[in-house]
Structure formats: C-alpha cells, structure tokens
Symmetry: C2
C-alpha cells in the first residue's frame, strides 16, 4: 500500500468543513477522520454523537447550511410535539436527525460498536471518506465552572457557553482505547500525514489527545503532523475558543495554538491575516485564508494543508536539519 | 360521591370513537377508560402503546382522520431518514407521534408507571376523560399461526393480518395487576356502568379480561355491564375481527359477540341493521346505527349506550325478574 492516507483529528462544523474540502480533492479512500466523542451524551434515552453527525452530514452533503449542525430540509414536528408533552426541549432534534440517534442507540443496545455503526451509517449516506469515533468507549467532556462541574452539552447548548470555564476534564479517557480504524491507520504503513482540524483545541481536540494510547500512537508516528489554526487575529472563527482561552488565562492568538500542540505538530497552517506572526513560529508555516464560507474556500484550505504536508515530506526525506 | 362514572374497556380506533362520543356528552370527570396494552411493544428501543395513543389522540382531537392511528398534520421526515440509514420501516412512526414514544420510554426508564405517564401526557394534550392502561405491568398478545407464534404488531402491521390465527395468548396477563385508576374505580362507590367498546373482542378486549383480578373485579361489580357490537351483519366495521372469528371456527355475527361476553354483560347495543336478531338475544338490547363516521355518529352511539345503561338501572332498582 502506498502511503497516501490522510488522518484528520476533528470536532464539529469547523473541522467538518476542512474534511469536506479534503474529501473533494483527495482520491477516494485517502481520507480517514477521527472524530471527537467527548461531546456525546445520553438525552431522552438516545445516544447522541453531535460531532460524528456533523461530520457525516457535512461529508454526505446533507448538512444544514444555516445551523452548523443537523440536516438540511429538516422538519421539526417532533420538538413541537415534545414541547406539548412537557418534555425537555433545550437540545433541538430535527425529525430526520432523530433517525440517526434512534438507529445508533438501537444498534449500540444490540451490541454493535460505535465504529462499525458509524462506518455503516456514513456509507449509507454516501460519504466517501471513512469516519470513525476516536474511541468506541465512552469519553465525556466535563466542564468545570465556579458553580461546579457540568456536562458538555449543558455547557455548550443549554447554557450557551455562558459559564466561566476553570478546567476541562475528559471522564473515561484514561481507560479508553483508540477505535480500531484509527489505531490500524496509525500503526499501519499506509498513512501519509496527520492533520489537526481547525476545531476548538480545548473542547474538540484535547478529548482525542486525552486517550493515552492515542497520544502515544500520534507521538510515535513517523508521518508529518500539522494543525490548521482555529484562531484568526485574537478571535475564533466560530464558537467559544477565544472565550475559553481567556478564561484559562491564555491570550488568544495563533501562537498560543502552536504552543498548545507543541511536541505533536511539525507544521502549522496560519491565516494570511496573521502573516506577521509567521516569523514567531519555529516550524514550517503555510499561509492561507482559512475562513471557509464556500465550497471553494474548503478546497483552498484543504489544498494548503496538503501543500504543507508535501513541504514537510521534502524535509523529512532530506537530512534532518538542526532546527526546523 | 354520586355514582356517575362510566368505565369503558377499549382497544384501538373503533373503541376510541365511542369514547370520544361519550366524552362529548358526559360531564367532565365522568369518563374513565381502560385501554388494552396487549398491543404494546418495544420497537427501535422505544416503548410503543398503540391503543393508548389512538385513544389519547382521538380524545385530544389531534388524531389523524385518514389513518385511524397517529396524529393529524403529521410529517414523515424520520421514517424517510430511517429508511436511508437502513433501519426497520415496517412500523410507521410519524415525527410528532415519535415524541409520545420517546417521552414515554424516557419516563418509564426513569421509573414512572405507565398509568401516571399516560394520565399526564393525556392531560397535557387537553384530554378531559381519564385514560389508563389496563395494567402497569407488561402484557403481550401472542398470535399463534400455523407457522408459529408471532408478536401482535408482527401479525397486525408487518404481516397485515394475513396469517391464519389458531390461538391468541396474553403473555404476562396471569401475573399482571389491574392499573390503580381502574382498580380504584371498580372497587369504589362512584361507578355507574361498565361499557365494552366495539373493539375487537379477541385482540383488544380479551387481553384486558385475561388479567385475573380484572375479570374478578368486573364480575364482582354491581353496576350494569354492556357491550357495543363490533359486528354488523357478518362483518366487522373495521379490522380483522370477522376473519379471526372464522379462523377460530366462530360464525361472525353479533350473536357470537353476545356469546363471547356471556356472564359478563347484562345488555347489548345491536346495530339497527341486525334488528331481526334482537329476539335471539336473551338480555336487554338497544338498537342503534353503530357505524361511526361523523362526530354526530359518535355521540349517537354514546347516547344509545347511556340509554341502555339507564334501562338496566331501572331494572336493577325494581325487584329482580326471573329472566332478563
């Protein structure tokens, strides 16, 4: 097998956009995606995997273009009926989206693993890339706030990221195994590069890295590892990344992202608006307009990632320089 | 408390129509409905109670007028999405209808009883009558066919009542208790009469009667018990009643229904088209056009039931005749 597969570590919509760009410019079967499941939760008796679904819907071209989650052409009869029955409605579930949760929950209860279920459901929706959870075991992101610990979706959806974050922990990560498709790719010969998507480093990527064998496999891998900045200037493109950084005492900047991934990455995709910071990053930097509004944007960022990977491959086949 | 409550034993849409008629002509709080739960089943991980839902939706005026089950103004995004995911689609679940199943399943898993859940959900949908399951314990109707035993919904929905029925059993009935609202009504002083709705005697009413303490309480009750015919001529108004009767070796006729309920009922509502059979029924008979297409039809049959009850009350306060 030639080393042609790209492994992406990703969370929600920002990462999914890059994955879609990569799916569009890479050959079939060349894209493997490890998705954060720290956001997963049990709600209304259903197993909900928000980041997996956002990735599947985005790559299956049925994502809701306005919401950043859920399906396009969605109806909402379930939520209206649930409200009339006095049920919990703070977490919105579209009617078509529900099928994913009900079917996943049913198959999990029947004993199937999350990796196998995810692969099958994604394939049925026409996704060409292979999507896998980071782990088949439950890992749950716990948000510590001055008022106490809360579950991720309580923080993210119910409380709309309002509480101050004092710490993040990933319950279950210590005991979790890397899912089989991801472990195989990291151990096998077919891998070309590892890409950390422009997802929230603290909420979306850290849960993946918190699984000890995942971290070990990533550090032991000989292929280039690159990250795409989720920060432009001092702000996140989307979501609470910058807010959380400030709350954790970190000055929001692409430099802080590089610092966060130090030891793991060998290259960084920096937004063109922050070109003046490139000289302060002590590794190969690829400049790119990283805002992804259109399909062309997604392909452009994906191409920048591959360009950086190619540059790093050139380096690694040359004698190792003293300082990168 | 004056004896003013009417207790109805009922199954699906035929019985629900009579219940709606009774709800419209009786004072508030005067109608208590014991619903068959032998049709209940677990599907896609959800606890589905088809007869309870048909009754709740009908009395809450949100029933689908065309289907005989489910909700009006329903959408079907869930089923379409489930089909695209390779899920089981033989049992149709509307998007709004799903809220009932998800919320019921969630509350059952949280430890609430089916009676309490049903009362609350019905009240939230504006139902004035009190609706209760026949039992809070699971009873499951098993259909014996030449090819083996199958669950009720497999028979009724998936196989569209095609298999020949050789026997019906009600798994769990022997160990089941009467639900608290129904047991209280049958033991207490407020009851005026008991009405067996024009539901399928074998599939919908027999599961209720198969609960030993239910049968005992009904037989011990001193109030009039009447039944409304589900058969006109030699055919059922709806559903497989006549087909099942033939398969069980019973000639379909209102007389066979009277025979089926012998020992339990003291009066019978016979369809006007079968008036010639009245003289062969050895108990008070009320003639009525029992076809219920319009709201007025439902009120007419309900009024006929109350007229028969009143006639029986007159009898019971007079010296007991030798032969009714």
């Amino acid at each position: 097998m030639s080393a042609e597969r790209i492994l992406v570590l990703t969370g929600g919509i920002g990462g999914a956009k890059l994955c879609l760009g990569l799916q569009r410019i890479l050959p079939p079967a060349a894209l493997l995606i490890a998705v954060n499941t720290g956001d997963d939760f049990e709600h209304l008796g259903l197993h909900i995997s928000p980041d997996i679904d956002t990735t599947v819907y985005t790559l299956g071209a049925i994502a809701n273009p306005d919401l950043g989650w859920g399906r396009r052409d969605e109806t909402w009869s379930f939520m209206r009926a649930l409200q009339s029955l006095g049920g919990e409605t703070w977490f919105q579930l579209g009617d078509g989206d529900l099928a994913m949760h009900v079917e996943r929950t049913r198959r999990l209860a029947a004993g199937e693993g999350l990796s196998a279920i995810t692969r099958d459901l994604a394939a049925r929706l026409g996704v060409r890339a292979q999507i896998a959870p980071m782990s088949d075991q439950p890992v749950r992101t716990i948000v510590s706030t001055p008022e106490g610990n809360i579950g991720f979706q309580d923080y993210f959806v119910r409380l709309r990221c309002a509480p101050v974050v004092t710490a993040l922990t990933f319950r279950g990560a210590e005991a979790a195994e890397v899912s089989e498709p991801i472990a195989q790719a990291l151990r096998g010969p077919g891998l070309r590069a590892i890409v950390i998507a422009p997802s929230n480093p603290y909420l979306s990527v850290d849960p993946i890295l918190a699984i000890p064998p995942m971290k070990s496999l990533l550090l032991a891998s000989s292929v280039p590892v690159v990250a795409v900045t989720p920060i432009i200037g001092a702000e996140a493109v989307k979501g609470p990344t910058a807010k959380i950084m400030r709350e954790l005492g970190i000055s929001p900047s692409p430099l802080a992202i590089v610092e966060h991934y130090r030891g793991l990455i060998q290259g960084f995709v920096l937004d063109s608006r922050d070109a003046h910071l490139a000289q302060r990053i002590d590794m190969p930097v690829q400049l790119c307009d990283t805002l992804m509004r259109t399909i062309e944007d997604r392909e452009r960022v994906a191409a920048a990632v591959l360009e950086l990977v190619a540059a790093l491959e050139g380096r690694s086949s040359a004698p190792a320089p003293e300082v990168l």
